[in-house]
Amino acid sequence: MSARRQTPLAETINATLADLLERDPRVLLVGEDIGRLGGVFRVTRGLRERFGRERVRDSLLAESTIVGHAVGLALSGLVPVCEIQFDGFTYPAVNQLVTQAGRMVNRWNGDLRLSLVVRIPSGGGVRGVEHHSESNEALFARVPGISVAYPSSGEDADQILRHAVGMGSPVVIYEPIRLYWRRGLPDRLGGPAVPPTSARIVRRGADVTVATFGAITNDVLAAAQALSPSVETEVVDLRWLAPIDMTTVLESVARTGRLLVVHEATKDVGIGAEVAAAVSESGFDSLKCAIRRLAPERRDYPPADFERDYQIGVERIKEEVLEMVK
């Protein structure tokens, strides 16, 4: 596995947020402990000192308040970038996100720009206690008025954040916790995605397409590298989960004839279901074999001692790919 010395994801996001605050006086950050402390993951550290407590706001301890009052901030013309402390604590904000933020532009008959970003640290693999290892991206992906992104690298996070603040409608961005401070991730193909809302082919290969996103993308890349050259895997990092760039996926499957979807959230009614369904509808004729999904079965994220059984590792990805080309 090749590995450059990269800037860790958290640092990139920190720099991007700083730049956004610097360039646009309308941007402000809101979240629990993001100011004084710099966030529980230190993603926002130093920003309060630099931009002041009015723009880097330590919110009340209430997620409905965070998103609900951010809707008001956005209505007033500002561009709030909220942080939910952990994916598992998103639920108190669901009502404000789904029935309010996500519907506001429509409620205003389209005559409104509601620029509102919600950043959510997500995913497991770091021995978190209950609720601290969740992946609930599918929850919002099904909501029409909300765009959902899940970058897996600093470069992508930077591009997606910059795009999100200018979309004029709410965007939820999931950030993989276990990549925040990790260095030495596998190399990726190519530069930033064009357009910014598209998926990205991070590895070329002729035999199988693996669609994935988030931290696990690196495991998929590692598996692909290990299988090469006997099996050449094409890896699509979806990056955006709502709407999904199915064009890139379908083009890839048209070339390879095989599709595996891998993700960290449980399988049922997840993003993998959507990708598999869409390919089974529109890419059926190019399929050489059954589509597969590799994701945890329907059960709660377990206590840390059992998370290895729950998490999809490099080995299982390799096995699954090998099964498909057999």
Binding site: L60, S64, T65, H69, G72, L75, L78, T99, N106
Partner: protein, 300 residues
Amino acid sequence: MQTESLCDLDDDLRRSILRHMLTARGVDEEARQLQKQGALDLWLSCQGQEAAQVGSVLAVGPDATVFPSYREHAVALTRGVTAEELVAQWAGRTFCGWDPRDRRFFPYTLVLAAQTLHAVGYSIGRRLQGLDDFVVVYVGDGATSEGDMSEAMNLAAVESASVLFICQNNGWAISKPAAEQMVTTVAERARGFGIESALIQGDDPETVHRQCVRAAEHVRDRRSPYLIEMRVGRIHGHSTSDAQEVYRGRDDIARTAAADPVLAYADRLTGLDVVDAEWLRGVESQVRDIRERLMKKYAS
């Protein structure tokens, strides 16, 4: 509970209040008719709450941005939303029939209490931008049980946001009496969060106006929130789909109808010679025109 004697409103303002109340009543009546004829899918009547609504919105002035709940028809009309614009939503044509920015009257929010947090956020956002940050948010008695309402009060208190909360306590949340929704008052609850408050009768528009002027001054001068709870009557059912006879005593319904604030105020101003039969006929004819336009647009 605070009430006061009539003293400080000039007659032009009084006539204006009555005209808006009569207009709202007429539009509400017409909307109920239209719903019966099938031209509207649903109507939530504001009858009984006109004094509270007209008195409060005139008191806060035209610059305050208003975040309504969904029953503030008299507020809407007073703010210049036309009757046609107002009912468009209930005819299934749109989610908001008027220009929210233009009227500084934001769209109705049907998910209870959600707008309270928007209102506080909006005020904070305006203040951060150095703009006028005075905001008014309306909420019902039942909606105050939702967590968002408490969160909004706490946020407003902590941020000292320039928000005037107006709770129209019409005694009912559909079929649930307010007395079973809480054991104190919304006004007391506000003070628990550090928001000054008043509980007033909402059936006399002048009392309402006076209290709201004072409350608005408090908010503007101290740049801190205030809550006014107004006791009002709900003359009709929760909505046109609701048969309140099922759960509400005949006497209570009759008493509420008899205490009609619109009739009472018309009588009062007539008795005081502030208006006369001719003036009333003039308003009646204006209201008839409005109702006709409304009917023409929707009954066809």
